[in-house]
Symmetry: C2
Subunit: 471 residues, 2 copies
């Protein structure tokens, strides 16, 4: 008598849990070993540690069973690539993305224990990288083993690939080139990014997209040197004034961005998406406490969650010009500077935005103010439609693991996931189990062990579901 | 047979010139001696030099014949006061103002010779302080001697007082208090300021007023710390944006200042004054070269000279907030800062301006942006009406010395002259012989010797004229 699909899932889940329970202690020991390697990509004195971290992970993946594991060199820190073919014709290919480098951390920043000596207390593991991102990368190792154990397979139900980069905390400067170089080996039907979080311990969520990012610096030049504001004030253009007026002119009174063409091609929120956002147990007071801001502020007609997840922004990250020391100095400054960043949403093309902003800036400035505008490498937005079958697989696996309804979020930030989406032309799904209190980039970073093992479970259940779904 | 007034002046002028010619070499030797003292008030390592400069001047004034000379102590650098009563009942009292401290100077800034070792070349004396202001203070010593020699008097025709401060190049922090403390001794019917310049060598001019100055720093606070522009961008107020919008909102499209009440009480330019400005041989291209600006820019309806001499301004001297280092940083900054200065013209009251600007700033900021505004000590504007008899005396003496028509200018900057005007309730006249090429505050400062001796002549002729004029 064959089981119903539901009872098959229940059986698989039970088997997965049994396997995880048996391997729990060894898994935590291994993770702790990895966390002891201070793979801080931003600090050159840790270059050797980042390489050691890649080597450690490569060995761990080989031990997990991946038949093909390789260190991929970049001009910076190395990435780790691993592949485990399903062996079944027609099986979908999935690429898991994460990173093995971590943020800087020092005991004197306020850590209660050595950031590179993991401590388990009250069901949490404290260490730099515990949540961001070693813990979330590592749950895939036990995940795939549990998947094999529960299904009796010797290879995963999907062609499973992992790409774990080593420069994410340094802005992934070589990531896109790496993906382009190895595009054929990395080719996948779906990308699973395990470098995000969920709403809260009680509210598991799947992120469906990230905003993109375009960044520029505008240098403004007025007089050939700082000049006396008494002798010349009121009769020549002031570059600090010009900088301020540029920033002020970026938005209208409703906080819409005024740059012509800025909203071209944008994917407007559907009513269904807005309803899903509104369903989340959002506490604005609590959110403001996290933001440490005294008030919300933004584009008219949108809620706070809509503003940070689904609306583009024009933000000034830095401004400077003239005399900034103590006291006064009655000058018209020779120059000023503005750093702007634009968060972009699905449908917006960074190159188009850069061109439109560049044109607009040139039109704003009076005679006598020269300028230079420099754009940094942009990140495209990414968004997976709610109805995408691979997204549905992730939701089912996660619901099963957590035993509750899974909701949807987006991410206001930007990340290299978009490069995978672009270069590999594959949808990006986010499987992250971190919670806001985990302290990414902060002292006393931790991962909740319960959630870590829910991540293992989700990963263990996901491959069978994806293989059964046309992705 | 008595001489006609004109021929009396001719005779006096000839006598003055003869006397000056006889004492020219000794005068330059003495001035060079004073210029060798590096009385840099802004540099604490020169405190002793500033005191030595005051002592040197006091001795020189005693030798000139001033019966009363005293060093006036302040919490900072000392000033020198000297008085020479006329002895004639009803003689007017005149106070000459100047300063004995100088700007910093170092050979490596681009000086062709040691800034504190005067060099005479091609009719110019090069040294820090040659024009600003030791040369212009010192011409009064030979001036009063020539006045006595030419008139056969043993005391000046006016009650002559000198107040030569030692902190002008450091913003005169104790000057007003000094004037208030010694107001009775300093009391005068007119103040002669010898710390300005004239239009050019060919166009002698008298300055009739200076702009006032109010200065503030505005600190703006947003989130409690720099926050991630991905996680929060678009949904909280950004203090750098608020700073920029404040600056941008200061002016309307015609570059009028928008702060309500800013123009209250202002003395509008008369047609006669505008015509006098327009008569000056103003070369805008040359002026832009001096300003090192690519274009003029300012309040609609006013010429460049009107803008800098007779119109108030709102200028940003410094702005800063967020990340200003190399590359980008995707933050919403915790704070930002703006330094504003307002040049004021006759009729504007600094306290009224401070109140109006303070109120206005408070009204501009959104919820979630806290601010603090700090005002520095203000300087009032000063303006002597064209028809004032003492001003006419200065014009006559200068015309006679230079042998040509004297025109009128104003000064766009602000200075302690206004404190004398206020505290002593006396009109301020400007007798300055420096020219724009003299390089105040710059390397290779110099004074034109021809003009220096025209200053001596003017001072020598002025006291008789003032005594004969009801001031």
């Amino acid at each position: 008598m064959s089981e119903t699909p539901d009872s098959a899932v229940q059986t698989a889940t039970a088997a997965v849990r049994t396997y995880i329970e048996q391997h729990r202690a060894a898994f935590l020991d291994d993770l702790a070993q990895w966390l002891r390697i201070p793979s801080v990509s931003a600090q050159p004195e840790h270059d050797a540690d980042v390489r050691r971290s890649a080597d450690w992970l490569a060995a761990a993946l080989r031990e997990t069973g991946f038949p093909e594991v390789e260190i991929l060199q970049t001009p910076g820190a190395p990435a780790v690539f691993a592949e485990w073919p399903s062996g079944e014709p027609g099986a979908p290919t999935v690429l898991v993305y994460g990173h093995h480098d971590v943020q800087p951390a020092a005991r004197e920043d306020g850590w209660h224990s050595d950031p590179f000596e993991p401590v388990i207390t009250d069901g949490r593991m404290y260490a730099r990288g515990a949540a961001d991102d070693k813990g979330q990368v590592f749950f895939h190792t036990l995940g795939v083993r549990a998947h094999l154990a529960a299904t009796g397979r010797t290879a995963p139900a999907v062609n499973l690939k992992l790409l774990i980069e080593g420069e994410e905390e340094s802005g992934s400067p070589h990531f896109r080139a790496l993906v382009e170089e190895h595009a054929e080996r990395l080719a996948a039907d779906a990308v699973i990014v395990s470098d995000t979080g969920m709403w809260s311990e009680d509210t598991p969520t799947v992120c469906t997209g990230m905003r993109g990012l375009a960044e520029c610096e505008i240098q403004l030049y007025g007089p050939g040197q700082d000049i006396h504001s008494g002798s010349f004030g009121g009769a020549v253009p002031n570059p600090a004034t010009a900088a301020a007026r540029l920033v002020a002119a970026l938005h209208d009174a409703d906080q819409h961005v005024t740059v012509p063409g800025f909203y071209d091609g944008i994917a407007e929120l559907t009513d269904a998406e807005r309803e899903l956002f509104a369903e989340l147990p959002f506490d604005e007071t609590e959110w403001l406490r996290t933001a440490r801001s005294g008030a919300t502020y933004g584009e008219a007609g949108f809620s706070t969650l809509e503003r940070i997840w689904a609306r583009p922004t024009a933000e000034v990250n830095g401004i400077g010009g003239g005399y900034q020391g103590p006291g006064g100095k009655t000058i018209i400054p020779a120059s000023a500077m503005v750093k702007l960043s634009f968060r972009l949403v699905a449908g917006q093309d960074p190159q188009h935005i850069e061109k439109r902003v560049t044109d607009w800036v040139g039109e704003q400035l009076p005679a006598g103010i020269r300028h230079e505008i420099t754009w940094s490498a942009a990140t495209r937005p990414c968004l997976t439609p709610l109805g995408h079958p691979a997204l549905q697989s992730v939701v089912r696996a996660m619901s099963q693991a957590f035993g509750t309804k899974v909701r949807f979020t987006r991410e206001g930030g930007s990340g290299p996931a978009a490069d995978l989406q672009d270069v590999l032309a594959a949808p990006v799904l986010f499987l992250g189990i971190s919670v806001p209190s985990d302290g990414w980039h902060a002292p006393n970073e931790k991962v909740e062990l319960d959630l870590l093992f829910k991540g293992v479970e989700t990963a263990a259940l996901l491959w069978s579901d994806l293989a059964a779904t046309a992705v």
